[in-house]
Symmetry: D2
Subunit: 247 residues, 4 copies
């Protein structure tokens, strides 16, 4: 059974009535419940818990980590970012949500700035499936809509995705690569654009289906040894004994 941990900054929900109305227990709980219905074992963790709720043993038990953050990216400790990066390279899946494009784990694993254009105007977003055969698009159809979306527009400063699944059309005139797969080390990373805290995006059935698909795709990692450095003997004979090493 796939084990997911849904991480949430969990500040907006406690500070803004408007957000609390949509996500009374927090975005993480809404997402975790949706994953549970899908048959995924989903736990939660939040910023203000010790070690942000992500101690070593929690990550040991996590196949896929989902990450929602927005206003407090800088409060995430480097130690936890190191830990998340190491785990991803060793095979853990990571699903980065919406404003997580500026989160430390995402920027760390991308090596780019994650910058983009944006606007908050409750406009229509239509996500087109540009890769219909991809497992993350399973059952989604040719497109789906988010009625009230915060807009993110190109250029989005990321490495070229290894696989592009969705591209968004926005009512106000922009486009965005909104479902992007990356392979890093033994791990799999999916960035999924929708999800602003003031709109009920994570209650949407198709959004929940994509999240479930993404968790299952990202969990399909590897038991291969984590990347490491090793000084090795030759397999074939070498014709010289000339070793001028300064090591």
């Amino acid at each position: 059974m796939t084990r997911a941990t849904v991480w949430n900054e969990f500040r907006h929900e406690r500070e803004h009535d408007q957000v609390a109305e949509i996500y009374p227990d927090g975005i993480h709980v809404t997402i975790a419940e949706a994953l549970e219905e899908r048959g995924i074992d989903a736990e939660t963790a939040t910023l203000d818990e010790p070690e942000h709720g992500l101690p070593e043993d929690t990550l040991d038990d996590t196949d896929v980590l989902l990450w929602w953050g927005h206003d407090a990216h800088e409060e995430v400790s480097e130690a936890v970012v190191d830990r998340v990066q190491d785990r991803v390279l060793a095979g853990m899946g990571l699903v980065v949500l919406h404003s997580g494009h500026f989160s430390k784990p995402f920027r760390r694993l991308m090596g780019t700035s994650g910058t983009l254009r944006w606007r908050e105007a409750a406009e229509t977003e239509r996500l087109w499936t540009v890769n219909p055969g991809h497992p993350i698009a399973d059952g989604v159809g040719e497109y789906f809509e988010v009625d009230e979306a915060e807009m993110y527009g190109e250029p989005f400063d990321i490495p070229a995705p290894d696989e592009l699944v969705f591209t968004s059309w926005f009512e106000g005139g922009e486009v965005f690569r909104s479902g992007c797969c990356f392979y890093r080390g033994n791990g799999r990373l999916f960035y999924f654009r929708p999800g602003h805290e003031t709109y009920p995006v994570y209650h949407d059935e198709t959004v929940q289906r994509v999240l479930g698909n993404a968790v299952e795709w990202a969990a399909d990692g590897s038991d291969a040894p984590a990347p490491g450095v090793e000084n090795v003997d030759p397999i074939e004979p070498i014709d010289t004994d000339d070793d001028r090493s300064v090591h």
Copy 2:
């Protein structure tokens, strides 16, 4: 005229006679002289200069930065790494050499660990051109050899290269992706494997040709604005005035 800055840790040459014999003025000077012969305006910078020789105005005047480091990666300040990353995303080229696979700028821009297998046994390396049409392979032929090489073997923990130019065969039995192109932001990055300090690799004519090709390829950057974040007005009319922002 392309302006290159060749950065070198410049420690081995001052501490080991064996290295000093091969590179009496430092690896950076040997490389810079080879680039100058190619018609590239090449300056140098080293770790122990103020700001590691890479103050803002030096990077402002640099089209392509070359990076050689080995033993003192950890001494490079985060401020300089930030600066290099920002410049690459804004369009500066970066050519990372040999043991630079563990350098801070490379790991920062890759998001991976850069780990690999290695052995120092003065063995033959044969670099095969797997992408003969690539500008960096221009004039190189189907393969070239380094007589005495430190071996680096797969798996090499990097994102899949956007373009793979060379793959190495080693006498001792390993293979390695030894010429790898990456696009990050507006910038271009090339990783080139050969170049151990105890072997006269950078005096080799074909290696020098590859370095020249790589600098010219990486310099062919962009005057586009650097990636940035921007709050923008809609281009098309939006049918709702519903804005429940908490910003």
Copy 3:
């Protein structure tokens, strides 16, 4: 000096007054004139010439071939398609325009069907630069518009582009990967979406700039030998004389 050959089916212009009004001498002449102003040596060729205007010696003198076809794809001979494919693999550039997504050379080089959704409703297309540092986007800005466009929508059945430069937003609600780079053999291929025959798209200054950029990018090919098959002797000694070949 870069030598381009602009190929056109050249039927619509002779059969439909509406098209003839926009392109009195044919789409190929309008495009060739724009390339000439850019400093590119541009010739033309059309379907109804002998060998479709593309005999061996014409392709020998061509750095980049541009291809516009729509209604008569099936009339293009396999011999000419073979020739174009061979030349691209040997290093010639190819720029495929608009309805050329269904042309024989494009489908041959892609290996996919080239299918897409479409609509002809003179709607607004806005092409976003998703890769601002790419040479084909040089001088284009963050986006440009085509006022009256035939719509092409995703999914577009192509291999994942090696580089994605533009993505289109359409007034009617769709998106499309509208500027796609592919490397095949030693050659470079660019697919550019705009260009319906009943709209004056190729008279547009930005469209002309993209075409010029694309020709220069695609011409930056290689003098490397064309891909070939070769039976070779070993470079290193082989420890067995066991050769049970049936050849």
Copy 4:
């Protein structure tokens, strides 16, 4: 249960005693038996059967087609190649083996020539796992060896693989991208290098494991509709009734 069809030219085995000794019932039967042990439902088909053993209803029942051909590529009918291409684009998996690099289905789906260098000298091949987290590398370890291999060397004229899993080292001094994944339409294609008819390569346990992994990976296709062309109505209102279509 995954259904595989193993296609074989099946000529060498009937014409050369040396090959018949290794594969008395044909390469296809040896591979099919190995897949059956893995729990895959494996049927076979050969060149000299009607429609090469690949009528419509056989392909309808096939999740993954494996393809071994060598001397008689030209005898495969265009109709069957069309059919295989269509099925792959619609979601069928395809695993192309060894000398199949020159087969019609492979060249059709790649768009390139498939040329390479080669030598038949019963030399050692060592396949390195360059992507340890990939499902096709599952259980394979850091490398595996084929004791007596025909050599294939770079450059290999293929599009850049969407995922590179294995790279080969050859005793005679060459390298080769020997495990390459491609996505085309809804389908998945894997090229696997080992497998010469005069060496007992397909009896090897690790090779059989890779084939099983590859079939399972390639079968993980999609129930999405096959790519198609469609004339569609706008989703959003369009501000013009100007339709100057010549259709």
